[in-house]
Symmetry: C2
Subunit: 224 residues, 2 copies
């Protein structure tokens, strides 16, 4: 499958590397490939991952049959606007971002929050996309290698399109997620709930001193 | 121990009954005991729990060495104001409520949310209290009988006073919570994170069709 991963941060790079390891063709999208390549951190990563191409958002989106939103939540709309409407039509957008707002320092707040969500905002702004919110409730290494966290734990799905959710499910299985760990919460509105897990996630990261943890909904499956 | 449980709804009654079963003396506080007693639901419960007294907020607070806030989050400040400052001095308030705002229908939003919390609001408004936020992330029957949910699952503690948190820990153990399930998140500010679990909790209730589930932080303890 051809993937476009939007965003060059640690989340985007981690997902891109995993997709490549599974045999997918991946282009990472960024605003200014020259500026991204000039960053030492990215250049070093690029050298270790020569199969991943770097391109402007629009070229990446044209390449991708499936798009992954790994941009910062505050710039996601801008990134997808640059990606160009003609390259979005009917495509699945896997939204793994959170609308963290660091403008008042750490810990960040969320914007939007409570009566709206980034997932809904993207679906509303880009109705041609089929947005599936998932994976946004954990560290990026856990996203692509769930066995880092011992025991059963959960990954959530929110979205309006059943086929899109089915294809994202298959991708999660290929990442190593057991079928029973995938909890479909329903429509994209349910992204409000998963995005609102971020404040306690950040607090737990501080308390536990590591990021290899995850939420498990105990009592959710017949096997519990 | 003498407890005052503020609030006559299902949450307050469930906790009051459990406290009585453990040998504590419990008075339930309400605005207008006459009106509460006239409600069929309450009257029937009262008949089944004759050991629990019903009294105005101020009398209940005077009785209690420890207070439990089981009022609706939108009226908690009003209830504690009626409880009278002189009856609060130095006491532990176990805040198990959530600031659910149903004014725009279901699902409710939260008020305050994100950059404030009910736990902080109560601590700020009533500085003589030692507020410990806990148990607000699950159904009330799970609060007092955690074994209803199979497997390990988590209960969070937030608060400024170490002694108060220690005494609340002991109460949780007496309810049946294993020591490893109690996660101390730090100061009362961390109540923001636990209160923001409510939207996904409500969504999960709808998806799963029951309330015998709970959050477990997988990877939090050495034993995981």
């Amino acid at each position: 499958m051809r993937y476009a991963v939007l965003g060059t941060g640690i989340v985007g790079r981690t997902v891109a590397a995993r997709l490549v390891s599974l045999g997918h063709e991946v282009v990472i999208g960024t605003r200014d490939p020259g500026a991204t390549s000039a960053r030492t951190e990215y250049a070093e990563w690029q050298q270790a991952h020569p199969q991943v191409a770097l391109a402007p958002f629009a070229d990446a989106a044209r390449h991708g049959e499936v798009l992954v939103n790994a941009t910062g939540g505050q710039v996601s709309v801008a990134a997808l606007t640059e990606a160009d409407a003609e390259h979005l039509d009917g495509k699945v957008l896997i939204d793994i971002a959170n609308p963290l707002d660091f403008s008042r320092g750490f810990p960040p707040t969320l914007d939007p929050v409570d009566d709206d969500s980034l997932g809904e905002l993207l679906q509303r702004t880009f109705p041609a996309l089929r947005v599936v919110k998932t994976l946004n409730t954990m560290n990026c290494q856990v996203m692509v290698e769930p066995a880092r966290v011992p025991g059963e734990h959960s990954v959530f799905l929110s979205g309006e399109d059943a086929d899109a959710k089915k294809s994202v499910r298959e991708l999660l299985y290929s990442f190593g997620w057991p079928e029973a760990s995938v909890l479909d919460l329903g429509g994209i509105e349910s992204a409000r709930g998963t995005e609102m897990l971020l404040p306690i996630w950040l607090r737990l990261m501080g308390t536990l001193g590591h990021t290899d943890f995850n939420f498990h909904i105990q009592g959710a499956s017949a096997g519990d």
